[in-house]
Amino acid sequence: MFQYIIRRLLQTIPVIIGVTIIVFLLMHLIPGDAAQVIVGEGVPQEQVDQIRENLGLNEPIPVQYFNYIGGLLQGDLGDSIRSSRPITDEIFTSRFWITMELAVYSTILAVFLGLTAGIISAVKRNSAADVGIMIIALFGLSMPNFWLGLILIQYFAVDLGWFRPSGWGTWSQNVLPVITLGTGGAAIIARMTRSSMLEVIGQDYIRTARAKGVRERVVIYRHALKNAMIPVITVIGLEFGGFLGGAVLTETVFAVNGMGRYVIDSIRARDFPVVQGTVLVLSLMFVFVNLLVDISYRYFNKRIDLN
């Protein structure tokens, strides 16, 4: 197990290096002169040169990359062009934690709803409940979450006044964004749980357990569910990543001051160092969560050789 963790950690290193290269290259993909694009048209040449100098764009690209990595290793993501403040401060004062909360709550909601619905569906296969759940899941999968968010705001916040329509922090502010972000994931987890459960229930050892006279409840929860969870765990890890990305839309709709909204505001303001910084931090977070998922996967399921 310990060896596996070490090996898995070592495998993560090239991925992290790759992510930093892509994020670094983003600035160089800007068509034309990046400094000019950032400051916009009709600005004195000295100011453009100043920005270019500040961003280190005069250096050869490999030198720039190593400077970038050097900064990252000291926790320096560069400075925001708009506010001139260090991006690390901007992100980790509150934005990072807000987006993490949003993603974690959404994951909890999605796992709870998805597992419950998926198990009911599989156990009561082809019943009205199964068909109903699968139709709802299909809609959940096909709905743009920003659209759902707008409807929830209108109905539950504006018309009924049960919740606050924007912001983050209090219970009445958090409920709607979490539902908005979590439902799509719940749908995916429900479908995955159902098909995985059905596959396991069809296996010989489940028939053997039943033939031995083990009670149905025990068969389902002790034998079937445990093995059906294996692929579901991977999906849950991937969904968490989906929520980190989806937070961009949800935070925009609900005016939540997390990292997602920060990215969008920065794209609009052509504040590219902030775009780079936030994309990097969210991606590293996702890599880290997947690492945890893989390790727990291995822990729960020692038979599988994940090499």
């Binding site: 983003l26 096909s142 709905m143 409807i151 929520f243 980190l244 961009v248 994940l306």
Partner: protein
Amino acid sequence: MNEILPETRGTSFAPSTNRHGRWRSFYNRLSKNKAALVGGYLVVLCVITAIIGPYLTQYDPAKVDYSIRLLKPSAEHWFGTDHNGRDIFTRIIHGMPLTLSVGFFSVLVGAVFGIILGVFSGYYGGKWDAVIMRVVDVMLAFPGILLALAIVSVLGKSLVMVVIAVGIFSVPTFARIVRGSTLAVRKLEYIDAMRALGASDRRIIFKHILPNISSPIIVQATLRIAIAILTASGLSFLGLGAQPPTPEWGAMLNDGRNYMQEHPHIALIPGIAIVVVVLAFNLFGDGLRDALDPKANK
């Protein structure tokens, strides 16, 4: 991670000797699945609407007329009018070819590059496999919509850039599935036999590997169109895709945001349009998977 991909699970790779029989049994299985048929008909309906719909509408999708702004749905304006007095029904119909093209072409971009990388990786293995799969890992490390978002942010706001960005976002998914399927086919004895008989790699790949891995690719492409449409509409909603006055549904939804209180139809209708199209592709893709992959979901 991801060793167990639902899409590739249990797919049969038996070489086909009788192409007609194979298609007939595929069609029989598909037609028994009601949900898949509904999905298939919906997809066809969407395509027909996209092709002939714009010629049948009576209004101009971009014509601004403040005297008829914010009208409720009526016999004259089936879906009402928006804040600029444009007929929403007309704009939805004109948005259909945009939506379908964005979905189709971005998946085409993703599938072509994904297939090249995946076949190369699975067929040749070794160092190439290791390098390609690490690149795929890196691309998958960007959560959700974020990679597409980052690409659009630097390339510039337009629907063409959205197609490229969403296409790149789909490459790693295809690469993984194609690699897995290629590995499974390559191990079959008859491929060894072909090689022993002196068939070139190119011939084996084009004549034997690709036809045999087409099922998971088709299934994935159909389901991926649904994801691509959702992602692209999200980017347009954020103002990074189609620019006004393009009748793109995500952009229309964004326009309607400020009128939710008094005139909710402006935002609701484009959302319903997105749900219908995405649902169609999801239903059809699910059905295709069941029909092409009889072992799954039994």
